[in-house]
């Protein structure tokens, strides 16, 4: 068994390993980063540490959220750095039985396939489990104009 925290974007549920999650916060003030990859939402200050926020919607090629709606930051750690995943809302902790995991279906959008580690079927629907390292591996940033 391993534990995942469920995240929601639109009507889709995702899961990230609970061991990598450091914090869950309401929407924070973000400092935008010019020239950064599009999915970078900005930087925020978490108790003196600088956290890079990733807009999960953009990362997964989904339309942006309405500006006035709520958003939640899920802070995860990867390679010693902190990242905040910007999602619509956060659900429960799921105890996942590995034997019930399904492979990522080949027909899935390549952008999703690149970051999904498995699919977990539940009574309420399918949960896409995300691989954080792969989520953070994105196209290099734009170079400065010259």
């Amino acid at each position: 068994m391993s534990d995942f925290i469920s995240l929601r974007i639109g009507t889709q549920d995702f899961g990230v390993p609970v061991l990598q999650v450091r914090d869950v916060m309401r929407r924070q003030q973000l400092t935008p980063v010019p020239l950064a990859p599009r999915a970078i939402a900005g930087l925020l200050n978490l108790r003196g540490r600088i956290v890079t926020a990733i807009d999960l919607r953009t990362r997964l090629g989904l339309p942006p959220q309405a500006a006035d709606s709520d958003a939640t930051h899920v802070v995860v750690e990867n390679g010693g750095e902190l990242y905040a995943l910007v999602v619509d809302s956060v659900g429960d902790v799921l105890a996942v039985d590995e034997r019930q995991l399904e492979a990522v279906p080949p027909g899935l959008d390549p952008q999703w396939r690149a970051v999904a580690s498995a699919v977990y079927p539940t009574a309420d629907g399918l949960i896409v489990l995300l691989d954080i390292a792969r989520l953070l591996d994105m196209a290099p940033p734009r170079r400065a104009a010259s």
Partner: protein, 690 residues
């Protein structure tokens, strides 16, 4: 016990532990060339320190190990399998010696002929039979702890401490807000106390990470003295800027590079007193080590006034080592060529001395410096000396910064890079050359760049708008950064960016300001690079172009030189035939006009003004339409890509105009004018060479 010795023991125990681990790994992966390089470096490092501490027994033991390993490296790696056991044996013996050293403060009596003999045996090609497993090390008491009044603290611990203090500062600020306006004496007094302690704590923690670079240099004077004796040379060491503060971890990592560079300068750079006398230099060679903060980096230079590096020897060594193809080698500039001294396994030394010359050393320097995100470069003038420049980024360092407003966002820029602030207006008008903005400031043209354009913040603004211009000086370059305003100055702690953001290159990092907000820190070096000018106007203080001397020149670029006045001048390379160094006596007068004897003919000479007294002089020989003449230059600075002439207002006979190169005005000389007005027939042999 001697402080040096104590430190050596602590270091060597660590080195030996790593060595043991690597040797064991090599046994499993004998084809891993990088591992061999690591082991080589490690042994070389320990040996180096041994030799200047006078630890003869350890030194000769390690020398034998290094020889054996070097032989294996040259003969192909499968042989390493056979030798690792023997090498491990040597490693064990070294550990025993260090343990005894720690207890008695000196090397134990006796010798290591047994181990040395085994190492020599392992060097023979026939030794492909696995050596017997090394005898179990002599039971040695564990090396006793060395230092007493210092402890090693994991950097993470300090990082965490810093983060927690930042949080404490924010909490204190909140509390101050809450208690504002209250007259409750007890509460305000308590808050004041809390405030003081918090500030003091913050300062202490920051201080724990900073150390003056002089600490890493403490060993060097003695080392130089010993080296000079050993090599029969006279060397003077000058230290400059030793108070420059460096992050503790950074300092640890650059200690070894200093040692290596110093040995290198003493062994390869500085000549013997007799050699120096012969070429008219003072008997005592000088090695200057200096440190300073420059923009977003700490710049450390180590310069000697020795023989310099001969690019031809480098070229030959590259060819011998087969590091690159012949075609690549041909295409390399002298600067690129020189950087090969940092290549693993690269050596020009014909003889392996005890001090250096095995082709390890400089690659250690580079790998250590790159580990902390720094760069190292070498520049050299044949016969004039060599200069190594190490640049360490200010990541981890605390810097005063200026906060700039741009398109509604704030950015920080290190204050050390800011030369002055100018508000554009009737007095300082922004002018345009095609679509490039420039500013006339005290008689020179300053290239400008709008920060919002650079960052693609896309706010269209009229050209006649009011701007604040931050004038940035970076190395030899100056340019103006157009922003909306300047906010404030603040001391900031630089934090590195997440890996996915590093590729933008324009940011040196990010920081949390006192009010808790996050801002990005601009990298002045990257901005300077964007203004299009390169940082190469003055690569070495006494830059000479050794390979071009007497060789023929070609290309589309400009040759920058200095003659008669401070403003550099430039000649199109296309019109340049040769550069010759000339002696003052070579210039003669015919009909009251200066000429120089060149290949048996008198060549008309143009002097731009009085020559700098006592310096070297060069004749730049230019041709036009089958006629030639020469210009006298005090110094040849560099070659750069051809630049469009910016300002033709000053153009006149002999002067095509002024261009901005490296952020400074350069006069472009019209060679054709001089050649046609005062010229001689091109001597016949030259025609075919041109």
């Amino acid at each position: 016990m001697d402080e040096l010795l104590r430190e050596f023991i602590a270091e060597t125990n660590e080195h030996l532990a790593v060595l043991e681990r690597d040797l064991v790994a090599l046994e499993r992966a004998p084809e891993d060339a990088r591992l061999v390089d690591d082991i080589f470096r490690n042994i070389h490092s320990i040996k180096g320190t041994c030799s200047f501490l006078g630890l003869k027994r350890l030194e000769s033991l390690l020398h034998a190990a290094e020889n054996a390993l070097g032989k294996l490296r040259d003969e192909g790696l499968p042989a390493a399998l056979a030798a690792t056991g023997t090498l491990l044996g040597a490693c064990d013996r070294a550990k025993t010696l260090v343990a005894a050293l720690a207890q008695e403060g000196r090397e134990p009596e006796g010798g290591d002929a047994d181990i040395v003999a085994r190492l020599e045996l392992a060097m023979r090609p026939s030794a492909l039979v696995p050596a017997p497993a090394p005898a179990a090390p002599e039971p040695s008491t564990a090396a006793p702890a060395a230092g007493v009044d210092t402890i090693r603290v994991n950097l993470d611990t300090i990082e965490r401490l810093m983060a927690e203090i930042s949080e404490l500062v924010l909490a204190r600020n909140q509390l101050t807000q809450l208690l504002r306006g209250r007259t409750d004496l007890e509460a305000t007094q308590a808050l004041q106390r809390l405030s003081q302690v918090t500030s003091a704590l913050q300062e202490s923690v920051m201080k724990t990470r900073m150390q003056p670079i002089g600490q890493a240099w403490a060993k060097l004077p003695r080392m130089v003295r010993d080296l000079a004796r050993e090599l029969g040379k006279k060397i003077e060491l000058k230290l400059d800027g030793s108070e420059t503060e460096l992050d503790r971890q950074v300092l640890e990592l650059v200690k070894d590079p200093f040692t290596h560079l110093m040995r290198n300068a003493a062994d390869h750079g500085i000549e013997t007193p007799a050699q120096r006398r012969r070429v008219g230099k003072p008997e005592t060679g000088t090695v200057t080590l200096s440190a300073r903060q420059e923009g977003s980096a700490i710049v450390i230079t180590l310069a000697d006034d020795g023989r310099g590096i001969d690019p031809e020897r480098i070229r030959a060594a590259i060819r011998r080592g087969g590091f690159v193809s012949d075609a690549e080698l041909k295409a390399m500039s002298e600067h690129q060529l020189l950087q090969f001294v940092f290549h693993p396994g690269f050596t020009t030394a014909a003889q392996v001395t005890n001090v250096s010359g095995r082709g390890v050393g400089l690659d250690v320097v580079r790998s250590n410096v790159e580990k902390i995100g720094g760069t190292v470069e070498v520049a050299s003038g044949l016969g004039r000396g060599t200069r190594f420049t190490i640049k360490i980024p200010l990541t981890l360092a605390i810097v005063p910064a200026l906060l700039l407003d741009c398109a509604g966002q704030r950015f920080a820029i290190p204050q050390t890079a800011v030369a002055e602030l100018v508000r554009s207006g009737p007095e300082h008008r922004i002018e345009w050359i095609h679509d490039a903005p420039v500013l006339r400031l005290r008689g020179s043209l300053l290239p400008l760049v709008a920060l919002s354009d650079v960052l693609l913040l896309g706010e269209e603004r009229g050209t006649d708008n009011e701007w604040l211009i931050v004038i940035i000086g970076y190395g030899a370059q100056r340019f103006g950064l157009m922003v909306d305003g300047v906010d404030d100055a603040e001391e900031i702690v630089v934090k590195s960016l997440a890996p996915m953001l590093r590729g933008t290159r324009l940011f040196a990092g990010s920081t949390v300001l006192g009010d808790g907000s996050v801002v990005l820190i601009l990298d002045p070096g990257a901005l300077a690079a964007m203004t299009g000018a390169s940082d190469s106007v003055e690569p070495v203080r006494a830059p000479a172009p050794p390979p071009q001397l007497g060789g023929s020149m070609r290309g589309d670029g400009l040759l920058l030189f200095r003659a008669g006045g401070a403003t550099p001048k430039a000649l199109r390379l296309a019109s340049l035939l040769r550069i010759e160094e000339i002696a003052p006596g070579q210039i003669e007068q015919i009909d009251g006009k200066p000429v120089i004897l060149y290949r048996g003919a008198a060549l008309p000479l143009h002097l731009f003004g009085a020559a700098a007294p006592g310096g070297r002089q060069f004749a730049l020989i230019a041709a036009h339409d089958g006629r030639i003449c020469a210009f006298v230059a005090d110094a040849v600075l560099d070659t750069v890509d051809d630049m469009p002439v910016l300002d033709r207002a000053l153009a006149g006979p002999g002067l095509l105009g002024v261009a901005m190169i490296g952020g400074r005005p350069v006069e472009i000389v019209d060679a054709a004018h001089y050649v046609t007005t005062a010229s001689a027939r091109l001597p016949a042999p030259e025609r075919s060479a041109a």
